[in-house]
C-alpha cells in the first residue's frame, strides 16, 4: 500500500503513524506537507493526531483550510481510503468530510488512557479484519473528543451503519460509564456515507507492537491492507 501521512503544523503523531506503516507493516509511506496540493499515487491517506495549529480556536478548525485538504476532498470523492485519527478526525469533521463536531471532554481534562471500543460495523475497509462486535483495546489521548451531532444526523448515522466504534466495557457493554469523554451514543469512530472515510478518536498506531504491550490497533491497518489487496485483485479481473 502507498500511504500518505499528512503533516500539518502541530501534527505530532505523524511519525508514529509512519513508523507503524513503514517499519512494522512494511508499507510505502510518504510524508505529505500540508501545503502540497496533490495526493497522486497514493492508495490511502492518514490524518494523524496532534495539535494542528495548536488547537487554537477549535480543534481542526484552521487545519481544514490547508491547501492539501482540497486534495483530500477529491481523494475521498474518488473512493480512496482516508483515515483520521484523533486530531485527524477533528479535522475531517471541520472539513465536512464527516458529520458532527467535537466538544470538550465532559471532565474538561485531557485524558490519556486505555479504552475499549466495540466494533459496531466489521464490514468496512478499516475493520474487515475484526469480528462484528469484537472488543478492541485502544488508547485515547485528547481533550476534545466529546462527539456531538444533531438528532437527525445521528439517526442517519445509525441507520446507515456509519457508527464504526463505540466505547464499551472490557466485556463489550456499551454503557455510559464506559464512555471516557461524554460522546453522544458512546461514539468513538464514524465513517462517511460512502464508507471510505473513517474518523476515530482512539489511537490504533499506539498499539501495534508487542513491545508496547498491546497489538489490537493492528486490526485497523491490516483491514486497510486487505481491502486494498482485494480491490487490486478485483481490478485485475
Amino acid at each position: 500500500m502507498n500511504v500518505g501521512v499528512l503533516v500539518f503544523p502541530g501534527s505530532n503523531c505523524d511519525h508514529d503513524c509512519a513508523h507503524v506503516l513503514k517499519d512494522v507493516l512494511g508499507q510505502n509511506v510518504t510524508m505529505v506537507w500540508h501545503k502540497e496540493s496533490s495526493l497522486a499515487g497514493l492508495d490511502a491517506v492518514i490524518l494523524p493526531g496532534g495539535f494542528s495549529y495548536g488547537d487554537y480556536l477549535r480543534t481542526g478548525a484552521i487545519a481544514r483550510f490547508s491547501p492539501v485538504m482540497q486534495a483530500v476532498q477529491q481523494f475521498a470523492a474518488e473512493g480512496k481510503l482516508v483515515l483520521g485519527i484523533c486530531n485527524g478526525f477533528q479535522i475531517l469533521l471541520e472539513a465536512g468530510l464527516l458529520p458532527g463536531a467535537m466538544l470538550r471532554n465532559k471532565s474538561l481534562h485531557f485524558i490519556c488512557r486505555e479504552t475499549y471500543v466495540k466494533v459496531e460495523n466489521a464490514a468496512t475497509p478499516f475493520t474487515n479484519a475484526c469480528k462484528p462486535g469484537q472488543v478492541l483495546k485502544i488508547p485515547i489521548a485528547h481533550a476534545d473528543g466529546n462527539y456531538y451531532t444533531d438528532p437527525v444526523t445521528l439517526g442517519g448515522l445509525q441507520a446507515n451503519a456509519q457508527v464504526v466504534f463505540r466505547y464499551c466495557t472490557v466485556d463489550g457493554k456499551v454503557v455510559p460509564g464506559a464512555c471516557p469523554n461524554g460522546s453522544l451514543d458512546n461514539i468513538a469512530g464514524i465513517r462517511s456515507a460512502q464508507g471510505n472515510v473513517l474518523g476515530m478518536m482512539p489511537h490504533p498506531e499506539r498499539c501495534v507492537e508487542t513491545m508496547l504491550g498491546n497489538e489490537d490497533g493492528r486490526h485497523i491497518f491490516q483491514s486497510m491492507l486487505s481491502f486494498l489487496e482485494q480491490k487490486k485483485v478485483a481490478e485485475v479481473r
Binding site: L57, R58, A61, I62, F65, E94, G100, A101, L103, R104, N105, K106, S107, L108, N146, Y148, T149, D150, G182
Partner: protein
Amino acid sequence: MKAKIHVTLKSGILDPQGKAIEHALDSLGFKHVANVRVGKYMELDLQEADRAKAEVAVKSMCEKLLANTIIEDYRYELTA
C-alpha cells in the same frame, strides 16, 4: 473598522465548561447562580471603510472559520 464577535454554543447543547464554572461558583458560596454558558469573544481590526463591505467580510469569516455552525451561533457588531 473594529469588529466584535461573540461565538456561543447553541442552546440545547450541553456546555461542560459552563457546568463546571457553575459548580465552582457554587462551592465558592455564590449560591444564586444558574445557567452559566461560556463562549468566545473576539475583536479584530478591519481595514475597510465601507460598512456594508465590512459586514459581508465579517459574516463570511464567521461562517467559514470563527464559528462552527453545527454547534455554535455567532453575532457581531461593527464600530468605527
